[in-house]
Symmetry: C2
DNA sequence: TAGTGGTCTAGACCACTGA
DNA sequence: CAGTGGTCTAGACCACTAG
């Protein structure tokens, strides 16, 4: 990585810096290698540390870098392909799907959830918390809302404790015939609990996948899963091995 | 919106500020309303402008605010639901799908694209550029790569000019029998051309949707579409036709 | 031209990690 | 403990929009 001076074009410095660093990463660094610290890098490029950080933030957003406080900045491996749309016709918790139930509570749903579930205002819902691991790393945290009316046979005695109760609720849910599901993906920022689960700081960018499970002509369950945006590529369909990061720039004339 | 002092907990100021502003937006502001300018807001909360901006960036990332240079900061409408996975078995350009062809070039594909297409190294590909509009706003810019071997009948004479040629290529593509497609979603940042197309600054967060169209046992076309992450919620599944009609005509006359 | 958000600087201190 | 990234400040100037 050179000590190149930045040209004075009408392009922001941090953006130009991002480009320079991107090229350096591809040609001179290997995955897992640690970069010089921010103060050194800033000095090397002749910019303020804040400007250098703006460029690093871009690269982290794009999944090319990984920064850890107290440790340093490392070159990130390519994003993991995480299947989201394959089990088109399976309830959550079916088979081996990398999800791990954490606990389960029974309470009144937040307003936004109640609306999506089209339940009675005051109907209690089971809230199952799950975590998804891939390659030994946490990639997603999920809240799964299941109205009591979707699992009427479940009694409080079945399993009063956290994870066991969560599994009991999921097992009970599978008695319903699943008619289909539909999901949506949007950008969000990790709240405190999700951030902790995902081993990130609050505010970290996440991909929020909202899925409605349909049965008996209504929404039988609602899943809100937050995936780490820096390390995950969500795949819909059969395979997810396409490796395109950014479209190249080429214009016609 | 009060003049509340920030408490000194171990929570970052900008994060607390984000929370306070979120609540204020929900209770005291309406969609389209403009906020006080950044310098005033910073003074009101007793923080530096940079800190205030960090909070605003979070809110913009979450789609709650919209900031425009030279104009101001406004309260954003709820994100638009944009159907991405509905036409599971349709070629791009089929029917009325809100996409508009812009132009088309024929050149050798970038390395990453060539690999995904599994073409010969040097085989030229048609590169179709399209734009997607929703509610009068640009929501996505796409580069569609089509190897020459997927549209063998196409002659250079058909339509030598930009948009017309793009449509000719898409029309030709529909002669193949589509066996399926698979897509992936990941976070990225808008490059210069995409940013211009999307009416955003370079580096703006985007959702990159990569789709492979399969025909005759191979990848017949590859689409790389970048959606505005601030205004779009990508929907997969049948009822992706949920039209959120929060009429944008909220301004006083 | 006045006012907005966008960029940039040169510091300072804090929270966290690992030796 | 020394070194890292994370937060924060108080300025300055620039690019853009609209009246």
């Amino acid at each position: 990585m050179g000590t190149t001076q930045l040209e004075s074009v009408s392009e922001p410095k941090y953006w130009h810096l991002r480009t320079v660093l991107t090229e350096a990463l591809e040609s001179e660094f290997t995955v897992g290698e640690i970069l010089p610290n921010e103060r050194d890098l800033a000095a090397r490029f002749g910019v303020a540390r804040a400007t250098l950080r703006q460029a690093l933030e871009q690269l982290e957003l794009e999944g090319r870098l990984q920064r850890r406080r107290g440790v340093g900045t490392t070159v990130a491996p390519p994003r993991m392909g995480v299947a989201v749309g394959t089990e088109q016709h399976a309830w959550p918790g079916t088979g081996e799907d990398a999800w791990q139930a954490v606990d389960c509570t029974l309470a009144e749903a937040p307003a936004a959830v109640a609306e999506a579930l089209e339940t009675e205002r005051a109907e209690p819902v089971h809230t199952v918390r799950r975590t998804r691991m891939t390659h030994g790393q946490p990639v997603a945290a999920e809240l799964l809302y299941i109205p009591q009316s979707s699992v009427p046979e479940l009694t409080a005695i079945d399993a009063p404790h956290g994870a066991a109760r969560a599994r009991a609720v999921l097992r009970e849910l599978q008695r319903l015939e699943l008619e289909g599901n539909e999901s949506a993906v949007e950008l969000g920022s990790a709240h405190a609990d999700d951030a902790k689960e995902l081993d990130r700081l609050p505010g970290a960018p996440v991909l929020v996948v909202t899925t409605r499970f349909l049965a008996a002509g209504r929404t039988a369950a609602l899943s809100v899963a937050t995936y780490r945006a820096d390390t995950c590529r969500l795949t819909f369909g059969d395979s997810g091995n396409v490796e395109i990061h950014q479209a190249p720039e080429q214009r016609a004339s």
